[in-house]
Amino acid sequence: MLLNEENFIKALREGTNQAYGQLLDEYQQKVFGTCISFVPNKEDAEDIAQEVFVEVFNSIDRFKGDSKLSTWIYRISVNKSLEFIRKKNTKKRFGFMQSLLGNDLPIDRSSYFTEFNHPGIQLENKEKSEILFAAINKLPEAQRVVYTLNKIDDLSYKEVSEITNKSVSSIESLLFRAKKNLQELLHDYYKKEGK
């Protein structure tokens, strides 16, 4: 178990190798788990997780202690993952051209921002998961964050509410809307695919 949180944060501020070693032992799996939930590609998720720890190292002086350290680290993980997705989406998507040519598909797996490579997904579910991740990428950001943290990263409503700074009831409502939108998107997709 770690030192008590206050002393641990103090040790992180001093920048000791031992403190960061402990931080990595405690959080590397959690941070990586969140990153791969947003970005289903092992290499990309590892790069983002590295960025998260470097950000923690650089900004620990600005951590005011308003939330738990774990919540703060989760927030950085979510923000770094979203930043990565935004960057990749703008590179990959030619939204304007597509809308002009009428090719703007509701779910387009070919223009997904990364190569789908999630080793935790069983082979028989791979195709469906790939479609689902592409559909999640079409959701508004607030719904996408809440759905990913709860359904993919398997965090509780309480944890999601702490990370996103929203009440549990707004989390429930965002999840409800996300699921409804996903159902519609998937329905349209399968209808077009002629299944």
Binding site: G21, E46, Q50, K64, G120, N125, K128, S129, Q183
Partner: protein, 109 residues
């Protein structure tokens, strides 16, 4: 009609396809790589500015709005004061700073 339950079932299956994701472990060298990246980071000394930490962008915006509103209010009240022009004229006359017809006449000669 026949396809509808099929699509509904597919949608449900797709939504449930992520319910049993196995934990993915990080690479064995992940920790070492992160620690070496941290060691490469330049050390930032922000201690000197920490007393301004509370002055977040939200407060900065509020301060700017107050500044603009107060200045606008001051300018408005300054110009809407009807006695202002008269006072300035009196002041100028007392100290011989006003441009009168006599002055013009004197200058012309």
């Amino acid at each position: 009609m026949k396809n509808k339950p099929n699509i509904d079932q597919l949608v449900e299956d797709t939504l449930n396809s992520v319910s049993g994701i196995d934990t993915v472990k990080t690479s064995p060298l992940f920790k070492e790589r992160v620690l070496s990246r941290m060691a490469e980071q330049p050390i930032e000394h922000v201690e000197g500015l920490r007393y301004l930490d509370w002055f977040t962008p939200r407060y900065q915006a509020a301060a700017l709005i107050c500044f603009v509103v107060l200045n606008a209010f001051a300018l408005l009240s300054y110009y809407s004061d009807s006695g202002y022009g008269e006072h300035v004229e009196n002041f100028a006359e007392i100290y011989g700073l006003s441009e009168t017809t006599t002055d013009s006449y004197l200058y012309q000669n």
